[in-house]
């Protein structure tokens, strides 16, 4: 019995038959060499398996199915407005958390100063803090973009009839979400406690007060009194950094979870 190992499969003959170029031959030999040591084939097989499993289970997209590609591709970006809201929300969470290190929701004035602590902290962030100017700018702009994206998202859902039969629940959730998003924006607008913020709070308060029956109660609850002041700022702050983040994040998770389960409505 020879100690010389025999090739189990006659690869030599096979390589002869193929009439490969030198590059191809070199590649194949390297592959064989590596495969012998690292079992590359096994991994390729795993990949191929995964690939076909994914693709076989997937129905074709609407446009593929009905040959509409040439007509409808330009609507595609509108279907990403929901995702844009989410990404803006994530940006807001990050920049907001960083701003939170330096902001302080106090509508009292430090001794000798004529502006409130809250306002002074905003000035500090904008003028002294490294990168603070950009941070506030990002938070501001991401908020504008998020609200815009949510509005447009709602419009696209409306005009593609995507709120119909199995998706009514998601539409209702969406209306709640857009209202909460607006409240998010409003409560954030009040936080710098500048002129506009103060008078926006004043108008909000008056609106709450003029609701029949529950008006005064609502004003107390949301604004902490009948005229804007330190309690108003505190309540807006808690709303903005504690209550709403939890509520909105979970609602978004449910909203997207439902989309995940139901799939995106046709047509594209």
């Amino acid at each position: 019995m020879s100690l010389e190992r025999t090739e189990e499969f006659d690869r030599g003959d096979w390589l002869e038959d193929k009439e490969l170029s030198r590059v191809e031959r070199g590649y194949l030999l390297t592959l064989m060499w590596l495969d012998k040591r690292l079992r590359l084939v096994d991994y390729l097989e795993l990949l191929e398996d995964a690939y076909y499993k994914t693709n076989l289970q997937m129905p074709k997209s609407h446009t593929e199915q009905y040959n509409l590609d040439n007509k409808f591709w330009y609507w595609y970006p509108l279907y990403s407005l929901g995702s844009l809201s989410i990404i803006a929300y994530v940006l807001l969470a990050i920049s907001g958390a960083l701003l939170g290190f330096y902001y302080s929701p106090s509508a009292t004035s430090a001794a000798g100063a004529d502006a409130t602590i809250a306002y002074n902290q905003i000035v500090f962030i904008q003028t002294d803090l490294n990168f603070g100017f950009m941070l506030r700018s990002i938070h501001r702009w991401a908020a504008q973009f998020m609200v815009a994206a949510v509005f447009l998202h709602m419009i696209r859902v409306y005009f593609t009839g995507a709120y119909k039969e199995p998706r009514e629940l998601n539409w209702i959730l969406g209306v709640v979400l857009i209202l909460l998003t607006l409240l998010f924006g409003y409560s954030g607008y009040v936080l710098p406690w500048n002129q506009l913020a103060f008078w926006a709070a004043q108008i909000g308060l008056e609106m709450a007060l003029s609701v029949p029956l529950i008006g005064e109660w609502a004003a107390q609850l949301l604004f902490g009194g009948f005229s804007p002041g330190a309690p108003t700022l505190m309540r807006m702050y808690i709303l903005h950094v504690f209550v709403l983040p939890f509520v909105v994040t979970s609602l978004i998770a449910i909203h997207v979870g439902i989309v995940w389960m139901q799939g995106i409505a046709e047509p594209h």
Binding site: Q65, I87, W141, K164, G185, W199, I203
Partner: protein, 304 residues
């Protein structure tokens, strides 16, 4: 390989080997499906029992039938009783019903409820969102927010405005004139102007909640439902005109011959005009242009 060479001896070994290699991907099935019908619209899995005779698949295909070998819910939960048992029996039953429906379904409407969020949607979304983040950062770097004057309860500024996305609400606050007109009808105001305006938010929000319950049916595209699209256009334009109402003082100051009475009037007339135009356009498109465009689409789902 040997078998192949025996049966097709006129071919060279290399050819057969190549063929055998080619077939490892889909096996026999992919070949039959390729030849049976060019209109196959499913994912390619040969799950079509009706064969080439059924001309169009509309269910997205490849809905995996329930595996008959897997234990039924009742088997799994034999020992439970009461409500949970009832639930499981219902599950089992509805699963069976679904299967029956799927088996002898010949309806072509709304078989496809949706397309997978992953990866169909998300791949595109991820690329667009990364661009979007870039835009946000760019805009933040170039247009930072100003520092306003600090709050001063003793001096009311000339212009009080919320952020733009609340203009519509602020605009509603400036509709007192409507309240007066109602007052003419009824002889006395139902509510103070401000209360009236705040309450006006109610119907708008309620309308939003009710949309899915008012508009039912399978129509999806604007051309399929001209009326509801016109309602949508009405809403969009109204949100703009209401927002402009919020800054009517500014507009009156800037534009000559502009009066706030005129603006209030326009705020409610423009949406009607827009809606009428949208309705007319969509209605006429529905018959001609869109029908030709997607004849196949409509064969599956005729407009109502």
């Amino acid at each position: 390989m040997n078998e192949n060479t025996n049966t097709n001896d006129d071919r060279t070994a290399a050819e057969t080997a190549e063929e055998a290699e080619l077939r490892t991907d889909g096996g026999e099935a992919s070949e039959t499906s390729r030849s049976s019908s060019e209109l196959r619209t499913d994912g390619g899995e040969p799950s079509d029992e009706r064969g080439p005779s059924s001309e169009l698949r509309t269910d997205g295909g490849a809905i995996t039938p329930a595996d008959d070998d897997s234990p039924s819910f009742r088997e799994r939960k034999e020992r439970t009783d009461g409500l949970s048992r009832l639930t499981y029996e219902y599950f089992e039953r509805s699963r069976r019903e679904d299967q029956v429906l799927r088996d002898d379904s010949d309806y072509v409407e709304r078989d496809v409820l949706g397309f997978p969020a992953w990866p169909h949607e998300m791949i595109r979304n991820l690329s667009i969102t990364s661009f979007f983040v870039g835009v946000i950062l760019f805009v933040s770097a170039t247009m930072p927010p100003p520092l306003e004057a600090p709050a001063n309860p003793t001096s009311t500024p000339a212009v009080i405005l919320p952020d733009w996305y609340l203009y519509w609400s602020f605009g509603i606050l400036k509709t007192q004139a409507l309240n007066l007109e109602l007052a003419v009808l009824g002889g006395q105001t139902i509510a103070t102007d401000r209360t009236f305006a705040v309450l006006l938010h109610g119907p708008i929000i309620v309308m939003l909640f009710l949309v899915p319950f008012l508009n039912k049916g399978s129509a999806r595209r604007p051309v399929e439902q001209p009326f509801w699209s016109a309602v949508g256009v009405f809403g969009v334009i109204l949100s703009f005109t209401l927002s402009l109402l919020a800054i009517k003082n500014l507009m009156a100051a800037r534009i000559p011959i502009w009066t706030s009475h005129m603006q209030l009037w326009l705020s409610f007339v423009l949406p009607f005009i827009g809606a009428t135009i949208a309705y007319a356009v969509l209605k006429s498109m529905r018959e001609g242009y869109m029908y030709d465009l997607n004849r196949r689409y409509y064969r599956l789902r005729p407009p109502r």
